[in-house]
Amino acid sequence: MTNNRTQNTAIAFSDEQAMILESAKGFCRDRSDITAVRSLLNSDNGYSGDIWAEMVALGWTGIAIPEQYGGSELGIGSTVPLVESMGRHLLSTPYISTTLASQALLRGGSEQHKAHWLPLVAEGSIGTMALLDSEDWGATSTSCNLSADLELQGTKLLVNDAAVADFFIVSANHQGAQVLVLVTADQLSSEALSKKVLIDETKRACSVNFSGVKLRADAILPNSEAALRDSKLIGALLTAAEATGSTAAALDVVVAYLTSRIQFGRLIGSYQSLKHPTVEMLIGMDSARSFIYHAATVVGDEHLDQDAEIACRMAKAQATDALLFAGDRGIQFHGGMGFTYECDAQLYLRRALWVQHQYGDAQHHRLHLANLLLD
């Protein structure tokens, strides 16, 4: 039964990846302290263009892009330490969106797509995925249509970083199959974007109405089916990595409070009723971290195999649950302060509530895992 299906437990981490992690930790810590995070909460785009330019200059946007297209070809697994570090410092940028969009092109696009867009991404162009048109990540169909004469009809629900995206990878029905198409920002009408109010104020997303956009036949990704499946799984992995970082940060905030706040004459961290659940946060974070680096190890440039699918889904299920727990207890353990907007604990709870619905919640992934592992 499961015997062979959960056997792959590889975790490899090269010296090069260790250096990436070190540099990412330092960068995110320096550029994204909590004051910087809060200063961006009400900003239009949710991130600093200067910091994005620095990330591009460091080569981060090209890390998973093959050398022939201007990247450093270190593989998608090497983005995991970057994204975990961003999550740890709540550094929100279009990095995940862009990485996923470029992966979709790499895995499903034509030579022309890759040759044109991947070098641009390495140089800082922004892309994003437009997949969802209902609340259901498990939906196997989309209400967005690409007609026979190649006109799009439909609205996508939660398109991350849409306001700053240069290009969109959009899923649509076309001649009886679901395809991915490449739409550029200049093809959208001026009323296409409608900004959403999000529970995580560090994030930005729009509804995007693609109706009326006319495409050329070469806008369709030739290998759409594989790219769609792989993008969703890699999306689950990257959001799991971000969530794992945020869980570690939530834990730091809780530990700092438990080791400084005195009630009834004692530091409150000495109470087992607070200490033991805090250990549970640590254990949840530790497991999530093991899964994201396992998944980073088994996810390659090829079409994702079953081991990789299991790894990505387990990573997302574990990371989501761990952050929900840490975010929730983080509020409670701060007492009255935890109920205020001023207390940083709210940032992590809101992150938890956001991240659980990125690329499928825990239950969605466990349902698919059950099909993979129990039948």
């Binding site: 975790i11 200490k275 033991h276 805090t278 250990v279 640590l282 680096y293 466990r366």
Partner: protein
């Protein structure tokens, strides 16, 4: 893997095929803490002797003490195959994994000559006397006294949870030789005590499973020869802590042999595959599937933790987290997983060992209840959580 090791693997697989004992008609222990009757003892003694005399135990120990002078890898390969084939356990665990490696590492030539071979061939069973009634996990509070009197030490007090205390020839004993020390740990000394000394008696403890395996051990003016002292007076705590390090496997000095039957999710799924709920196969029930996947994720996380722990760059923020939380994570996982197995059994979960309708002879009933020895013994889960909170996260003590 080298050719030599590959050949060894093939050899041991073949050996197991021809030597794995048939079902003896009574339940065999899942761990060494469940040796509760003479017939089980005799069976396991014969089995361990056979494993040793065939060259598959103590493989990395020196030849002059009954070993084969090979590498830990040799032993590990043999153990892995034995585990996979679910052969009976090598039950003399305190000897093989604690006392033996200690004597090999720190003992005198006389002690090595006297003790080691009997540990491997199962003639001399060893037990451990650390815990005391009322002190549970807190070894610093040990009260059993050993007072020097001429060429003897006179021991008074009692120990509890002595695994196989009633069958053991020797005990590794932690006792207090000085009561007035600055730190409570400094007054402790470590002995290799003969269990047949006058004044030592044992009382078997009936466990919640209805079976035996532990004793309480009483010392009433028991005289043990002074040369039983390991190291010097006052070094007992340090030696005891050192002893705990050997268990980590053949690399750390243990003789090897499997001490515990591994019971994993795959066993649970095999057990559940023919069960039904609401007239449908249990494994089609969505709630059950969700729960099973949660357990599968948790089981895999345990394995992955053991991989990640070897990569310091991925453990930088809390370097000792995975090692200090290991016992808590794994023993609590197995407790819940085994409890769920009984939930899944439906009404058959209400039968017990001895009933024909109990699934696998009550295997899961025993597995679940006995698992408490791991969530309680060696520091309860609650103490473990304190340790992780204080030593990993830096939270204040109680």
């Amino acid at each position: 893997m080298s050719n030599e090791l590959q050949e060894l693997r093939a050899e041991v697989v073949d050996w197991i095929k021809h030597n794995k004992p048939a079902d003896p008609g009574f339940l065999l222990p899942q761990t060494f803490m469940e040796v509760g009757s003479e017939r089980v003892l005799d069976f396991l003694r014969e089995w361990q002797h056979k494993v040793w005399s065939s060259g598959y135990l103590g493989m990395a120990w020196p030849e002059q003490y009954g070993g084969r002078g090979l590498s830990p890898d040799h032993q590990n390969i043999v153990d892995a195959e034995m585990k996979l084939a679910r052969v009976p356990i090598c039950f003399n665990v305190i000897g093989l994994g604690w006392a033996g490696p200690l004597i090999l590492d720190k003992g005198t030539d006389y002690e090595r000559e006297k003790y080691l071979k009997g540990i491997l061939n199962a003639e001399d069973i060893w037990c451990q006397g650390f815990s005391e009634p009322n002190h549970g996990s807190d070894l610093g509070s040990i009260q059993t006294k050993a007072e020097r009197d001429g060429s003897d030490y006179v021991v008074n007090g009692s120990k509890i949870w002595t695994t196989m205390g009633n069958y053991a020839k020797y005990m590794i004993l932690l006792a207090r030789t000085a009561s007035q020390t600055e730190r409570k740990y400094n007054g402790l000394s470590f002995f290799l005590a003969p269990m047949d000394a006058e004044g030592i008696s044992t009382q078997p403890i009936k466990k919640l499973t209805g079976e035996y395996g532990f004793t309480e051990t009483f010392f009433t003016d028991a005289r043990i020869p002074a040369d039983c002292l390991m190291g010097e007076e006052g070094q007992g705590w340090r030696i005891a802590m050192q002893t705990l390090q050997y268990e980590r496997g053949a690399e750390a000095g243990a003789a090897g042999g499997i001490s515990i039957l591994s019971i994993v999710m795959n066993d649970l799924l095999n057990m559940a595959k023919d069960l039904e709920r609401e007239g449908q196969p249990l494994l089609k029930d969505p709630v059950t599937r969700e729960n099973l996947v949660k357990f599968l994720i948790e089981e895999k996380a345990l394995t992955l933790a053991n991989k990640r722990i070897a990569i310091p760059a991925l453990c930088a923020d809390y370097p000792n987290s995975l090692s200090l939380s290991g016992k808590l994570r794994s023993t609590e996982f197995y407790r819940r997983m085994r409890q769920y197995a009984l939930t899944l059994q439906g009404t058959q979960g209400s039968f017990y060992v001895g009933d024909d309708d109990a699934i696998d002879g009550g295997f899961w009933q025993r597995a679940y209840m006995n698992n408490f020895s791991t969530t309680i013994g060696g520091g309860t889960s609650q103490v473990q959580a304190n340790i992780v909170g204080e030593h990993v996260l830096g939270l204040p003590k109680d």
